[in-house]
């Protein structure tokens, strides 16, 4: 399926958010997620299924004031 990850189009085979994160190399990474502009908690990633056209945001700690 085709989804949008951090603004880039990706073709993924995983069906849940957890599977897709692992597929993209973020299996063990400390990240925060939002799906279609809504916050998606860590605890919900295993049970949240993705569908074609979904927009996933994957954020991490970054420089800030």
């Amino acid at each position: 399926m085709k989804i949008d990850v951090n603004g880039e189009g990706k073709t993924v085979t995983g069906t849940t958010v957890s599977e897709v994160l692992a597929e993209l190399g973020w299996g063990e990474a400390r990240v925060a997620t939002a799906l279609n502009s809504e916050f998606l908690p860590k605890a919900a990633r295993d049970s949240t299924a993705l569908k074609d056209g979904d927009r996933l945001e994957v954020l991490a700690a970054m420089q800030g004031g």
Binding site: W26, A29, A60, A61, M62, G65
Partner: protein
Amino acid sequence: MRDFYGVTLDSPLMLGTAQYPSPAVMEAAFRASGASVVTVSLRREGGQGQAFGEIIRSLGVHILPNTAGCHSAREAITTARMARDLFETDWIKLEVIGHADTLQPDPFGLLEAAETLCAEGFKVFPYTTEDQVLAQRLVDAGCRVLMPWGSPIGSGLGLNNRYGLKTLRAAFPDVAMVVDAGLGLPSHAADAMEMGFDAVLLNTAVAQAGDPVAMARAFGLAVQAGALAASADPMPPREMAAPSTPLIGKAWL
């Protein structure tokens, strides 16, 4: 001494992590400053985030994630929820920006976001102006810390409205207050502390100094000096001179 949602800070200095020449300089500046709080943002993971997160956690100080760059309450609320999930802290530096040039807070969006986040158990540190009415609304919403700006973010202008800041400080004697943004020199930080503020938050003044580590130390010393001065009950200023050396016993020459 006022606390920050039950936390007493070792140093009244909160330091940002952006714009340093390198991560190593940032880390050294942090250690030199003695800061007790570090601010961080959340951005799209592009390969740098994991290592950066490790450095932040290794500083061993309180982490205050921000919602920098958010221009609506909705964006700020979602960012705050993501920050809590990532950093495992209820603390959030709430920024809802209202104007691109001044980076001035949007008071309406700020209040809306603060109400939602306080109700969700967040410990909100709102980046606000010195407006007393807004401050009261934020306190009513559940904010126990206020962070009025000194001057626009990154400007280095210091305390742009000392009268406004002074009256705000006096109006909420029980609320911890941090002067956030616009400080350029350690003397600005000392000034804020002498006025009775509980901490200062800065970034650019240290990160963009020619020698960030030395400037970090200077700010660390300045906030200590200012806090000590505030607790030492400063003398009231007067318009006319008053001789400090006694006149009695002066020779007839």
